[in-house]
């Protein structure tokens, strides 16, 4: 992938928005990869967690928003607990979900859930899921 960088690209509105609502300093990350190494969902992701933050650092928020990774993050906080720079990547994932949900609408449609599953799953799963997947 070829990215053309400029001051405008690096500090675009979406990057500023991610920083503002996540409360995280994106440039604190020096790409050690500890987050990706410990992520329990990495096996299912199309892009590693450390690659998502790298894209955002480079102003490529649109690319990050297209990744399935932001929807597969379970907010388990393993990355944050182990990050040597104290970056809470789960907050950056949440910021990206928020931007995607606001712009593109809900990621999960309650009508798509099988009635049997609706009756069977613990409430906690739905409340948590709808907090993360709907606007």
């Amino acid at each position: 992938m070829r990215i053309r960088l400029s001051a405008e690209v690096l500090r675009n509105d979406l990057v500023r928005r991610v920083e503002e609502i996540s409360g995280q300093d994106l440039l604190a990350c020096y790409q050690c990869g500890e987050c990706s190494a410990g992520c329990p969902v990495a096996f299912a992701m199309d892009m590693l967690p450390s690659q998502v933050i790298r894209l955002v650092q480079l102003g490529q928020v649109e690319e990050a928003l297209e990744s399935e990774t932001i929807w597969l993050c379970a907010a388990c906080q393993t990355c944050y607990a182990r990050c040597p720079k104290g970056v809470d990547l789960s907050r950056i994932m949440e910021a990206l979900r928020e931007i995607a949900l606001q712009r593109d609408g809900d990621y999960l449609d309650i009508r798509a859930i099988h009635p049997e599953e609706l009756a069977e799953f613990p409430q906690q799963a739905f409340i948590g899921g709808f907090r993360k997947y709907t606007w």
């Binding site: 607990a81 409340i127 899921g129």
Partner: protein, 289 residues
Amino acid sequence: MEIPYYPGCTLNTKAKGFDNSARASARELGLELVELEEWNCCGATFPLLVDNMLDLAGPAQVLISARQAGQRLAVACSTCYNVLKRTNRVIREDEDSREKLNFFLDADYGGDLEVLDLLQILRDEIGFDNVKEAVKKPLSGLKVAAYYGCMVLRPPAEVAYDDPENPHALDDLITALGAEAVDYSHQGECCGAYLAVKSAEVTAEMSFTILASAQRSGAELVVANCPLCQFNLDRMQKTMGSRHTGFQPIPVLYFTQLLGIALGLDSEGFELDRHYVDPRSLLEGANLI
């Protein structure tokens, strides 16, 4: 000793066995869990955006009600514990959020409630030595994997009351009950949590990794502290069996169910029959029920 108690939505319905066994076991150990007169859902996930005041309002309301009932709050569900503990910290340490939430909820709460996980109370106030003395049916010979999940461990600075990378509180309780706590690597690995509603095949794989790790260490039973972990680990085992040759089902209980059984309590209300992988043959075989 009495302590105000927050059951939370899932313990009030789907995980009644967790709630019933927690209350009965605590009572047997001289601790009365007194349910808050008024409570609402904690939100089931801690909001991770700095300006998301709306999702903090629910758990903040629970904390306000709890503070009216006393200085401390006992929580059995580890997810509720995590959300309430973190929200309490925001109220205590962030003036701007504190003012907004108090204004919105028409309250004057400063965050001075002590939010405690039930396991933490058992360890620090009852004491595992006293638990051991109260055991009537030692779980001798049973090999149990303590599963901690995420919520009592992370973020460490905000919620952990144990070593976040190598926790042992639940292992110590299992040992006090006379069982063997097996050592395995995935005791704090995420089960997939709410991903279950959107990507069940992913949570099945995550949960399999945990159970396989426990079984490699010889576990014949897993105990959990969260209804969603219990659900993911338990329900997905059919899928795991079809994907992974040689996988053998393993029962997943709440730690309070095992505690109650070891204390010699009647397990009638523990809902042992409501698990996907039936734990009863294992427990009957060990002459425990």
